[in-house]
Amino acid sequence: DDVSFQNHNLINCFCILLTADIISTVEFNYSGDLLATGDKGGRVVIFQREQENKSRPHSRGEYNVYSTFQSHEPEFDYLKSLEIEEKINKIRWLPQQNAAHFLLSTNDKTIKLWKISERDKRAEGYNLKDEDGRLRDPFRITALRVPILKPMDLMVEASPRRIFANAHTYHINSISVNSDHETYLSADDLRINLWHLEITDRSFNIVDIKPVNMEELTEVITAAEFHPHQCNVLVYSSSKGTVRLCDMRSSALCDRHSKFFEEPEDPSSRSFFSEIISSISDVKFSHSGRYMMTRDYLSVKVWDLNMESRPVETHQVHEYLRSKLCSLYENDCIFDKFECCWGGSDSAIMTGSYNNFFRMFDRNTRRDVTLEASRENSKPRASLKPRKVCTGGKRKKDEISVDSLDFNKKILHTAWHPAENVIAVAATNNLYIFQDKVN
């Protein structure tokens, strides 16, 4: 089963969701049948994939809205004069264990475990209340009946089952479910905490990089993730472009890393921007657990966990921006945090860029493509046309020049189905789903 995307044509399948707020996170569940999005307004929208249906052959693979709920509300911490945004920073699904689905959603300060369950039956024929719910007069009841279950229109309910609060002084940037399916980590700028999914009043601090004197602060934690198979291993990335791998078996407080990943830098090429553009905005293990990928401002790098000295692959996302760093610093775009993701077989990787462009790299063929997520430039069920940015000299037809790029149209969040070539791309407040053309 060749999942190299180069042999397929990605088409815009359907389902463009328009939200009132900017989408801030996108995540498929373990089977890929559910897709969750979180937005700046604290809302979560879950999509479910349609099953194959003979009467509607074209609907197979469509994602339709399954559930919508308000996960977080804005808060104001009066003691610290701090406004706590309701924006959902991350959603992570739990592996499915029964009919219900569980996910963790987090804003800057509080993580919540949500249970999403279906109800398609209703009990009727109660003794003490009638069908409207009004209580019956007990003296009028002359006979007993057994309530029976009757089918009803499917109702999907979301309820908060656990609230994990008050464990983070700084802003949470990551959550990651452990492969033991019992614990998870939450990371903020300076600390990483370990939780048990059943216990909300206790959390163990496993990484703390806060210096005694805040004047000496030189780097912050930007992302963290558990290894997909080894429940004792986690990685965290920093604003200085380094990744530390920690083994929880070695000590309770993992301040000393087991591995330290950093690419050596040529000191003569160092500039004012070097550290800022080296800051890692996302780190993701491959499905195999053998590799990890880091995203910095201009590139994605693939690292072999057995080699700390340098990445095994470096893919340029938008190298043409190197000559625009001055204005990107002035408009703050240089601080944009792009995410990255692996395809199901780890042979391809994807990340976003500006102008609603996103980039896909085939690691086997070493080929890459730039695609666009926009309504104007794609028709439903038509193949996506590769885009090209003109970096100088004569601009060919259909190319776009660097100066014409819209830096407000950022694709920061993308997700890839765990097994199939189906991708979800968030472009500001639009969600696009693309999949391989089925011939």
Partner: protein, 98 residues
Amino acid sequence: QEMEDKVTSPEKAEEAKLKARYPHLGQKPGGSDFLRKRLQKGQKYFDSGDYNMAKAKMKNKQLPTAAPDKTEVTGDHIPTPQDLPQRKPSLVASKLAG
């Protein structure tokens, strides 16, 4: 004879452009000033004492509502948390301050 290498990397050229615009730009862009601003995201300046005093004084009247121009937080206007303008850690200002 030595030929001076006049080719500058695009990154260094951008750095020169930035330094020309902001001559007092700090030497350590990734240093603690920048990081501390990041950690302070969401900071608003709300004086609960002033707010409660004003509420007590005007218990029969409505609190003056926020002016459409949200930067007005002094004088007769008593801010509520919702009124306070987001104190965006202005990197432009910090770029100018050494």
